[in-house]
């Protein structure tokens, strides 16, 4: 039985989740992947580059969405680009590990409670899941049209100049399906599978 989780999520709701739980997410979240994470880290967290253009306005706009909220590692296929009546056509997760250098800091900075993607993340993010608290939610990679069905509305888009896949899409989802693979108690399915498969590899390579 899947657990219904609404966004924003409370600390209690997050702490109640454990590795292996199936969840259905409902609420407002943003997409953000490589360009967004680097931009957030450089401009607002490490501050190695001064804000430019609409940077501050976008930061102010997404901060309340991220507070207690979730970020989705996704570069969607979007229809309605010419009319700006945007709709998600295909929207599966992208590989999350590329955001490992930034994710923990972004979680702490914004009180971000959920990271959605695929493939899992590393030790820094797992630590942030314990500190914030937060969870890593695994969506099914490649199941793009099925997942797009749970995106009921595209509310707006920021940083479209990053390109369609890299922009910040603000979306409303209903019953978005995912599985908890890293929880706020320090457990990670990815660590378990990696360790067990390493033992198998060592056997096969003798």
């Amino acid at each position: 039985m899947a657990i219904k989780l609404s966004i924003p999520a409370s600390d209690e709701a997050i702490r109640a989740l454990h590795v292996g739980d199936s969840v259905l997410l409902s609420g407002v979240m943003i997409t953000g992947r490589d360009a967004v994470h680097k931009w957030l880290a450089d401009t607002f967290i490490k501050k190695t580059r001064p804000p430019q253009g609409d940077d501050l306005a976008v930061y102010q706009a997404i901060r309340p969405i991220l507070d207690g909220g979730m970020i989705y590692h996704c570069g969607p296929v979007v229809g309605g680009l010419d009319t700006k009546q945007y709709r998600f056509v295909a929207a599966g997760p992208t590989t999350s590990i590329r955001e490992e250098p930034y994710q923990g800091d972004v979680m702490r900075h914004f009180n971000l409670k959920g990271v959605i993607g695929k493939g899992g993340m590393g030790a820094k993010t797992l630590q942030a899941c314990q500190d914030v608290p937060g969870v890593y939610l695994h969506a099914i990679g490649g199941a793009a049209s099925l997942i797009a069905e749970s995106v009921k509305q595209v509310l707006t888009v920021y940083k479209l100049d990053f390109g369609v896949p890299e922009a910040i899409w603000v979306i409303e989802v209903v019953d978005f399906p995912a599985v908890v693979t890293m929880d706020s108690h320090g457990a990670s399915l990815h660590v378990d599978v990696r360790e067990k498969s390493k033992e198998a590899l060592d056997r096969l390579l003798g």
């Binding site: 992208t94 599985v179 067990k196």
Partner: protein, 290 residues
Amino acid sequence: MRDLTQELLELVRLTSTNLPPDVEKTLREALEREEPGTAAHNALQTILANVEMTRRNSTPICQDTGTPIFFVRYPEGWSPRRLREQIKAAVAEATRKTYLRPNAVDSLDGKNTGNNLGDEHFPTIHFEEADDDTLTVELILKGGGCENVGAQYSLPSDRLQAGRDLEGVRRAALDAVWQAQGEGCAPGFLGISIGGDRGTSYIASKQALLRKVDDQNPDPRLAELEERITSEANQLGVGPMGFGGKSTVLGTKITATHRLPASFFVTVSYMCWAYRRRKMTVAGDQVSYE
């Protein structure tokens, strides 16, 4: 020379939205092997539901519609230059119709061209003149997640205790699958090239992925190795999406090319479960797809 832009557009649409039957059959067999109720079983069920949905709705199987890689064999007298123009027009139109995501990004300034047309390598088109009157265009859409976990080994490797022989190839291939874990969207398919230089080896490893899942390698040594790598990769227990489970690799295709005495490359191209490859054949007025 006729204009094939519309027919090429159909090839792109078909490839992006309709998973080939041999791939789907293999995924259904994988589902049968997993225990109902496990994350692996659920993942494969979701994958197959998505495959049915995208075929029905003509929407992309995966939002990462990948690098479009074309392999074209054209009859004598056809112009590869004009074919390139038609392929590019079809790719741009497919992007406008949301069969493809805009994926061509300038590596220096990060700008996305918005239409999947970049420099002369994007889309990637390999041309070869055919020795008959049939034009064939094969297309693979290869997503970034699985492309990122591809690997090239220069043997011998002390770390893997891999020498310059088929046992060395086996060791390198299993290492690549372990390194990939679930990041390449397992269960995947392996295209492996032995030999070549670094560049030709990567191209050959992708060409190996044009083969059907259930075909037989004509070289019995490679046929045996293909079976063994697939079987042993599944003993790793990485499973669908890296959730753990019995299905990690659903097929291995190996090709061997000549090499320099000094070099022995083993190149592994990992293809995700969304193994999008289709072929268009033009014989006279007839255009067919498989």
